[in-house]
């Protein structure tokens, strides 16, 4: 009898003690009524596949133009090549967000866009005719290496000087070979990723419903967040100096030699927003993560979480748009606008990395838990 009394008292006190945390609004975390398959289908068919297809066709184009250029290096050829490079680099920003499955298997993100490029290593590779791109973390490949080869290798971005190098330099054949191999490698990796997605991965991806780590929803959210943080840190944060005691590092921007850093950052943020909204390359707004969080009525500070996220995307895009290219020069002149842009980008992280997975009840794990829990 006494036991029962004691437990009743403990029960009542505890419930009252914690009743102060009662939710009165209609938030319904972990609501599982949402049609995940519709989300995955839209993301796969209207976002991921078209983006990879786009990137693939641009790299195919780049490869053809590279052939033309190395056969007969001239000013027109280089201009075409540079144009194709910028197009492809811009497309990459949308395709960079899906580093799981086929992309993860070939380390696509690190292979294609580890920057800043290690120019010493590139030059060493050229000199010694090393064209091994199997190690993704060597900073001597992908778009950053191409950026250097097309815009910086002659010591300036001068078209004349660059063409001269590929036409008249004693090592010109070595330069041509590295350029060709580099592009071919990028093309192969993207083609593989696209083909695997199209032929097999897509069908399993759209059916892997559930909230567990490793399922499609968790993969989308994890990979989207990872990429967002890379945009924040590498594209804006590092060069602005906020991560290094306010010493700006303008030469660490993405696409330093071609000077299209800001525009790439805008592409990346737009891609991030579009994935969130479920907007495909045709511009049609399909099922996205926004629909999912509206389904659970997530609210934050008196607004819906969706409004908070969309507003913050708008602010971040605005702030980055205010940074004129070349970003490295903008930072050298005055790093403050870049720091402000960094802050706007950063304010979004808590919304998409903490709030969104929390209200959707998704396991967010970049790595598997190395230990037991209890």
């Amino acid at each position: 009898m006494n036991f029962i009394k004691i437990f009743f008292i403990l029960f009542v006190t505890n419930v009252f003690l914690f009743t102060s945390c009662k939710d009165d609004d209609q938030q319904d975390p972990c609501s599982s009524t949402f049609d995940q398959v519709a989300l995955f289908t839209n993301v796969a068919d209207n976002i991921i596949l078209p983006n990879y297809e786009n990137l693939k066709s641009e790299l195919d184009e780049l490869s053809i133009i590279t052939q033309v250029f190395v056969t007969n290096p001239d000013e027109n050829g280089l201009s075409d090549l540079r144009g194709a490079f910028k197009e492809a680099y811009s497309s990459w920003q949308s395709a960079a967000q899906f580093e799981f499955g086929p992309a993860e298997d070939v380390f696509l993100r690190n292979s294609l866009n580890n920057f800043p490029v290690n120019t010493n290593r590139v030059e060493f590779n050229i000199e010694n005719e090393i064209n091994n791109f199997d190690q993704p973390d060597t900073y001597d490949q992908g778009f950053p290496a191409l950026d250097f080869l097309l815009f910086g290798i002659s010591g300036s971005d001068s078209v004349l000087e660059t063409v001269k190098l590929y036409r008249e330099n004693a090592d010109k054949e070595k330069y041509k070979k590295y350029l060709t191999d580099l592009v071919a490698n990028m093309q192969t990796k993207v083609t593989n990723t696209y083909e695997t997605w199209k032929n097999s991965y897509r069908d399993s991806f759209v059916t892997r419903t559930g909230t567990a780590a490793g399922n499609s929803l968790s993969q989308i959210i994890n990979s989207w967040n990872q990429n967002y943080e890379l945009v924040k840190r590498n594209k804006i944060g590092v060069p602005s100096g906020v991560l290094d005691l306010n010493f700006p590092l303008p030469d660490k921007v993405e696409a330093f030699y071609s000077g299209i850093s800001s525009s790439l950052a805008i592409d990346a943020l737009n891609a991030s927003l579009n994935l969130y909204l479920g907007v495909g390359n045709t511009g049609i707004n399909g099922v996205g993560l926004d629909d999912f969080i509206n389904e659970v009525n997530a609210e934050k500070n008196g607004k819906t979480l969706d409004e908070v996220i969309q507003e913050q995307f708008a602010k971040a895009l605005n702030a980055v748009s205010a940074l004129p290219d070349p970003l490295s020069e903008s930072i050298e002149n005055d790093e403050l606008p870049t720091v402000l842009a960094y802050n706007e980008i950063t304010r979004q992280v808590v919304n998409i990395k903490t709030d969104l997975p929390s209200v959707l009840c998704i396991s967010i794990t970049y790595v598997d838990n190395p230990s037991d829990s209890d």
């Binding site: 505890n14 780590a213 991560l243 903490t354 929390s358 838990n369 190395p370």
Partner: protein, 452 residues
């Protein structure tokens, strides 16, 4: 009359002789399980992942002096754990073996507070208690070596103290479940169960919220009552069946390693030895309610000192889990008084903490990339535990002095934590220079209040 009652209680729970078998069985199973657990620990690569890879280790208060060893040293430590648990199982040089086990296992657990687990704390406590128990007086190598050590009886406290410990675990785990989120929101099971829909047959049900509610309530009732059902002989077999079902279920559902097995094995202590009835009746016939008799079975220390030690231990075990009432904050939010209290699988927290360090001389400031100093697992744990946030800030101060020569930097943290499926809330006061704060047991006023 009153004294007589107390004397009876004392006789019944402390001094009366009981069969040694439960204790011996406990020793063998516990030793064996700990040995397997340590082998699994190595085999999973956790020495490297948890103790070699990290550059920094979070400390337990008062145990800041505990340092990790190098790789070789860590393997030696684990070897000691394996060897000593094997000796415990065999009952070979038992007293030395169990002391070695307790010390080495506890040391391992103290190295990095990131890896704190309630069931590891339980292992520390059980092995500490076992140091004082005559678990080698039967079915042991020691008895083969020293024949006069053998005894079929032990004083009942040696078994009851283990029963008490397990009862504490269950009861407090149950009390901790009596909170609003668990009872009325089925949280965090409503987060965790749908993740396991891939489990055959039962997985299908995890999509329904009522299942999370059912399991939350059943779990709470189970934890609150199971130890008492295990105490009474009539309900004991069925209760033990429930123990097996319940823990196998948790083993299936959650990544909780050894915990289910520890509980399944340990709760066998509630089953008395076979000969117990006969011996007890024999004794009551001869009416030897005297200490002189039990002293022959096992003498540890003076009777009254033993009694006070036991009562002191019991009080501590009851007070520690309730210490959070001394803090004004919500224990699930602030984690003040959270550890060592059997709050098992109770919260789902996601957090992030962004540190900014400012040199007061130059006014230059820098945002910290946590992953430069912490493993992903450490970072995840740090972002939701205030004392870790504090420790990390102190480490940053030390590091920036070492690498940049910055004296007395101002370190602030912008942190947000989302609890049990809610949106996040600011966690730490971001205006405060946490590098200057010293950790202590006083309420941490720099933790912001949990709203709603």
């Amino acid at each position: 009359m009153y004294r007589g009652f107390l004397a009876k209680i004392r006789w019944r729970f402390i001094d009366s002789p009981v069969g040694i078998i439960p204790l011996v069985r406990f020793r063998i199973l516990f030793g064996g399980l700990m040995m397997l657990g340590a082998v699994r620990f190595i085999e999973q690569g956790w020495i490297e992942k948890l103790y070699i890879e990290p550059d920094y280790f979070f400390k337990f208060y008062w145990f800041e002096w505990v340092k990790p060893f190098d790789e070789k040293g860590m393997y030696i430590l684990l070897s000691i754990i394996i060897g000593s648990s094997f000796m415990v199982m065999l009952g070979l040089l038992y007293r030395i073996a169990i002391i070695m086990f307790f010390v080495s296992f506890t040391y391992l657990e103290l190295i990095d507070a990131t890896n704190y687990l309630n069931h590891h704390y339980l292992v520390c406590l059980l092995s500490f208690l076992m140091i004082f128990l005559p678990a080698n007086k039967s079915h042991s190598v020691d008895v083969l070596l020293w024949r006069n050590l053998k005894s079929n009886l032990v004083p009942s406290w040696t078994i009851n103290i283990l029963i008490f410990q397990l009862t504490v675990v269950y009861t407090f785990a149950g009390i901790a479940k009596l909170n609003y989120d668990w009872i009325f929101n089925a949280m965090p099971l409503a987060v965790w169960l749908p993740e396991r829909q891939d489990i055959p047959i039962i997985g299908y049900f995890f999509q329904f919220k009522w299942v999370a509610f059912l399991m939350s309530w059943v779990g709470a009732i189970y934890d609150l009552s199971i130890a008492y059902f295990l105490m009474y002989s009539r309900t004991r077999p069925f209760a033990y069946f429930l123990v097996i079902v319940f823990h196998l279920m948790t083993w299936l559902l959650f990544n909780i390693g050894l915990f289910p097995w520890i509980m399944i094995v340990s709760t066998m202590i509630f089953f008395p030895g076979k000969k117990i009835k006969k011996t007890l009746s024999d004794i009551s016939k001869t009416n030897t309610h005297s200490f002189a008799e039990t002293r022959d079975y096992y003498y540890f220390i003076k009777r009254n000192l033993l009694l006070s030690l036991i009562i002191g231990y019991m009080l501590l075990q009851i007070i520690i889990p309730f210490r959070h009432f001394l803090y004004p904050s919500n224990v699930f939010w602030s984690e003040e008084g959270y550890r060592f209290s059997w709050r098992v699988m109770l919260v789902e927290k996601i957090g992030q903490a962004t540190f900014t360090l400012k040199d007061p001389k130059t006014n230059r400031q820098t945002e910290i990339i946590n992953s430069r100093y912490l493993t992903q697992f450490q970072e995840k744990q740090m972002s939701i535990q205030p004392d870790f946030i504090l420790q990390f800030a102190h480490y940053l101060r030390y590091e920036y002095k070492r690498t940049h020569g910055i004296e007395n930097p101002i370190i602030t943290v912008d942190s947000h934590v989302a609890l049990n499926g809610r949106v996040s809330q600011p966690f730490i006061d971001k205006k405060i220079n946490i590098a200057e704060i010293k950790d202590d047991f006083l309420p941490k006023k720099w933790i912001l209040k949990f709203n709603k």
